[in-house]
């Protein structure tokens, strides 16, 4: 028979609260994107409400986590779930804030838009999908899928670069469109940040489910399976740490970045 019924109940409640907050974050970002696409300004108020609601939820869940730690002293997987909940509500709250940032930009557009936009809607729909997925993985403790969020984030980063180039082209063609172009870039930037926060959640879920502090950077390094390969891998890591940092001359840096785009 399971014991500590009250504690089990509190843990269930905590998971539910985070799940509900995840739903609010999904709605916020979804509505912000819809606002950009349709220009229905009544959505702006909704996004604002959701953002505030998310912030309120963050405070409430934070208090709940403190209470659980103070009263029940959770350990092992319970402790990991509480600490991860505490961390990811911050990400969800930030997602709400980015939704609000996007909604604010929508007003600036005031009817002017670029006609052919391919990448931005695609990016938006992918990002909007990542948020509820990350929360689902939290609820189910699915570390395998949580890791895959980072692959999805790579696609988002590529789309961001594409949008950046796309906008530059438009702006070169018609300097009057520079303001709107920059706003589009900002939207893409905010969406890209939302995806990053979904990844943060994923990273925490991996820790929650496995107990391992997984470094997402490891995913890009080749880890040889053979025993001898371990040294090779360690050398590679050591080498990557020793690599000289990029020159920090700000002016040159930006020129370089722009040329690259």
């Amino acid at each position: 028979m399971a014991t500590r019924l009250q504690f089990a109940h509190e843990m269930e409640e905590l998971s539910k609260e985070v799940e509900e907050m995840g739903e609010l974050a999904r709605l916020a970002i979804e509505k912000a994107v819809k606002l950009i696409v349709t220009g229905d300004y009544y959505l702006k108020d909704e996004v604002r409400k959701l953002d505030k609601e998310l912030y309120r939820n963050e405070l409430m869940i934070e208090r709940h986590c403190t209470d659980i730690i103070a009263l029940y002293t959770p350990v092992a997987s319970d402790l990991r779930r509480v600490s991860v909940s505490w961390k990811i509500i911050e990400d969800l709250s930030r997602i709400g804030r980015y939704a609000w940032d996007i909604a604010e930009i929508a007003e600036v557009f005031d009817g002017q838009k670029f006609k052919k936009l391919v990448s931005l809607p695609q990016m938006a729909s992918q990002v909007v999908g990542m948020v509820p997925d990350s929360v689902d993985y939290y609820t189910t403790g699915n570390a395998v899928e949580a890791r895959k969020l980072f692959d999805r984030d790579d696609e988002i980063d590529e789309l961001y670069d594409t949008i950046f180039r796309e906008m530059l082209t438009y702006m070169f063609e018609d300097p009057k469109k520079i303001t709107i172009g920059i706003h589009y870039i900002l939207i893409a930037r905010y969406l890209e940040r939302v995806a990053d926060h979904a990844c943060n959640i994923g990273e925490r879920v991996v820790y929650m489910a496995t107990g391992d502090r997984w470094d997402p950077a490891d995913r890009k390094r080749k880890i040889p399976a053979s025993k001898n390969g371990v040294e090779e891998y360690q050398r590679e890591v050591a080498k990557s740490r020793k690599e000289p940092t990029r020159p920090t001359d700000v002016g040159d840096y930006h020129q370089h970045e722009l040329a690259e785009k």
């Binding site: 028979m1 014991t3 500590r4 350990v75 092992a76 997987s77 319970d78 496995t210 391992d212």
Partner: protein
């Protein structure tokens, strides 16, 4: 790299109380000058295990111990090994404070007076009065009790509070200069403040002694122990660094126990 030799090495330890198989194939290495906590539900063999380390189970009728327990490489169950000599090197403190019905001074001085001491050349001596006083003072100081009792050493030990009595028992164990101290739930009869004092003392003792502690209070294990061993139904289920055990136990059984899902 120098591989440290474990202070206590237990191999394939099996203990039977008549037909009851109380400990099953326990293998464990206890490192020197560390605190090792033993946790597990009631009847899992924690106390039986700790009592094997200083041959206290020899005193139990119908108890059979198989396997080997070596301290500094010497088998304490070997032929010709005197159990009393083993217990001189391995002190023990029990669940309930059990001072002798004597004065505080006599409680500490009893064992040193009985056993005497061995000097650097290996010669056996008896303590003289002055030396005994020194040993009593040293032991009480080491057990963080000196300041509280130095003015009433001739009073009965029974006048002390529970927490003080327990520290007196620790001082008594220290008086014969053991290398290892075993604690069998030393705080279960104490209030939180007395418990905190004992815990501080345990951490301090770690500098000079190897400490093994059986505890029902998991948070206590988490607070004081360097390593934690989890026993269940006579088997050693998991043994590892305390942080690892309480943050990410490898075995499901450990997880179930420490999170309170087993009951």
């Amino acid at each position: 790299m120098v591989i440290p030799i474990p202070k206590i090495e237990v191999q394939d330890l099996n203990v039977y109380f008549e037909k009851n198989h109380a400990l099953k194939n326990v293998d464990i290495n206890i490192e020197e000058k560390e605190i090792t906590a033993i946790i597990g539900p009631s009847g899992c063999g924690k106390s039986t295990f700790i009592r094997c380390v200083n041959r206290m189970n020899d005193l139990v009728l119908g108890c059979t111990v198989k396997g080997s327990v070596t301290v500094d490489g010497k088998d304490i169950y070997g032929k010709g090994v005197d159990a009393v000599e083993v217990r001189k090197r391995i002190g023990m403190v029990f669940q309930r404070p059990n001072p002798f019905p004597k004065s505080i001074f006599e409680n500490i001085a009893y064992a040193p007076r009985l056993h005497g001491f061995v000097d650097e050349e290996g010669k056996h001596h008896s303590y003289n009065k002055q030396q005994l006083k020194e040993v009593v003072e040293w032991s009480l100081k080491r057990a963080a009790l000196w300041e509280e009792v130095s003015d009433r050493l001739d009073k009965s030990a029974y006048n002390l509070s529970g927490g003080q009595q327990q520290r007196l028992c620790i001082a008594r164990a220290l008086a014969i200069k053991p290398e290892i101290i075993l604690f069998d739930e030393p705080c279960s009869a104490l209030d939180p403040i007395a418990t905190a004092k004992i815990e501080d003392l345990l951490i301090d003792l770690k500098k000079d002694y190897t400490v093994l502690i059986v505890t029902h209070n998991m948070q206590q294990a988490a607070r004081v122990a360097d390593r934690t061993a989890y026993f269940y139904l006579g088997e050693l289920i998991e043994f590892g660094e305390t942080k690892q055990i309480f943050e990410r136990p490898e075995k499901d059984l450990t997880e179930q126990y420490i999170t309170g899902r087993m009951g």
